[in-house]
Symmetry: C2
Amino acid sequence: MTHLLVVAHGSRQDSSNAEIRELVARLRKNCTLFASIDYAFLEIAKPSIKDALRQQIANGALDIVVLPYFLSAGRHVVTDIPEQIRQVSVDAPSIKIKIAPYLGASEKIDDLLIHLVFSSYY
Amino acid sequence: MTHLLVVAHGSRQDSSNAEIRELVARLRKNCTLFASIDYAFLEIAKPSIKDALRQQIANGALDIVVLPYFLSAGRHVVTDIPEQIRQVSVDAPSIKIKIAPYLGASEKIDDLLIHLVFSSYY
């Protein structure tokens, strides 16, 4: 089974990091499709991407998907996250680590936005 | 009818701003629930929130919803966007401008993440 790692930017404001921890807690509760679901932060907050991946591997993960919780394909998505993964892969070449599209790439976000406006506003 | 303004952070990398313009173009095409759908940027890119709101009002909008396209309830969502709106409201007190919850507040994002992993990875 695949292990999922949700990667967010990380904030100096811990309430923003807490939103990610809560998101992952909900996913763990509601989604049984993965062997494990964890979070990591690119910057500022912990755990780092490398530490989280190494922990998943230490726990027996052979197949990991990293999901960038980012809205646009900026430098973080295009360069920084792949580089962190590459550094882990060098030491664990037998582990399959793939990157899913970043959140903002999903056209399903359109419906979610409309739903958000109407569910809360009217 | 309500006018919708999608507000993103704004990036020095114009491809990130283009993602917002494309999102709004899709919404305009697929969603007929609003009198108009526009975008604005909090920083860096144009139009600014104030300019976009004033343009909507000049076009006849009486009722506007601002949707923060942000993943966490940081300073931008809690303070900066409301302050921009307040500055417009001072000069146009009869116009109703409300703020929808920011994108990351939607628990529907959970399903979207899982869908994103599976639709693209398997």
